[in-house]
């Protein structure tokens, strides 16, 4: 059962990631990224991380990807064009990526003492996780909330102004 679930959702994951590369329009890439993130949530559940599986669906597949699709639609981003840069990126990038993947794969395959994952392994409950998060790691958690606050203020400051300065400069040119 574990094997079948792993193979099915790893397949979804890879198909979504490859589709993200092949699609020309950003909205198709965004939707395939949602497929990747949702199937990763199932894989987290298979590894016994129930809180992370739910957070993956809510935070990543929900909040972050809604933001992405919203921006794609707001800016009316069209199909991307192939340029000299993308050809150079393909010619130089693919061998480099294959080299990176080969190196990581060699390291992983030579790793000793890696265990196996079963369905009967049990799940790290949210209570167990929050007991550590809210006692030992309370300070990093609070710092994260400050980080989020600063990010919100930064996003509003960057995107919120009416762009009149840029238009003035365009008029001057």
């Amino acid at each position: 059962m574990h094997l079948i679930l792993f193979l099915v959702f790893a397949g979804f994951c890879l198909a979504g990631a490859i589709n993200l590369l092949l699609q020309g329009h950003p909205i198709n890439s965004a939707l395939s990224l949602i497929v990747v993130m949702t199937s990763l949530a199932v894989l987290y559940l298979l590894l016994g991380a129930e809180f992370l599986a739910i957070a993956q669906v809510i935070v990543y597949a929900g909040a972050i990807m809604v933001l992405f699709t919203f921006v794609v639609m707001l800016l009316n981003a069209g199909r991307e064009e192939r340029t000299m840069g993308s050809r150079v990126g393909g010619v130089v990038g693919f061998p480099a990526v294959v080299a990176i993947l080969a190196m990581i794969a060699i390291v992983i395959l030579h790793m000793q003492g890696l265990g196996v994952a079963r369905l009967s392994d049990g799940i790290t409950s949210t209570a167990e996780l929050s007991a550590v998060l809210f006692t030992k790691l309370l300070l990093p958690f609070e710092v994260t909330s400050v980080l989020i606050l600063i990010a919100i203020l930064g996003a509003v400051a960057l995107a919120g102004h009416d762009g009149s300065k840029a238009e003035e400069r365009k008029g001057e040119q």
Binding site: F6, L14, S29, A30, Y44, D121, A159
Partner: protein, 107 residues
């Protein structure tokens, strides 16, 4: 039925999957020419790394590995908010999302 349920998956398969996701993210980062799609490739890389964190947390029964993934998610959310705001500001100034045409830091 019991043998069917007891099938197990080596953790190295999960790690290989996370490596492949990371590499596809790097490939997208290099090949794609659209600012938003490049940003999505970065998210794909973060997801690949998260999967290896969860796998190692399972291997050593360490809750802290999962908490680290939680922090990565929070940072990714902050990064997405700021990054997309920057993309909107760039689009306002240049009226394009093609990275080949965004080649000056000045507005």
């Amino acid at each position: 039925m019991s043998s069917f349920l007891s099938q197990e998956v080596p953790l190295s398969w999960y790690l290989i999957l996370s490596a492949i996701l990371f590499s596809l993210g790097v490939a997208g980062f290099l090949i794609k020419r659209n600012l938003i799609t490049i940003f999505m490739s970065i998210e794909l890389m973060l997801n690949g790394v998260n999967l290896s964190f969860v796998t190692f947390a399972h291997q050593w029964h360490a809750v802290k590995g999962q908490i680290f993934v939680f922090f990565v998610m929070m940072v990714a959310a902050a990064e997405a908010a700021v990054g997309l705001a920057i993309i909107i500001a760039v689009f306002r100034a240049r009226a394009t999302l093609a990275v080949d045409r965004i080649d000056r830091m000045k507005l």
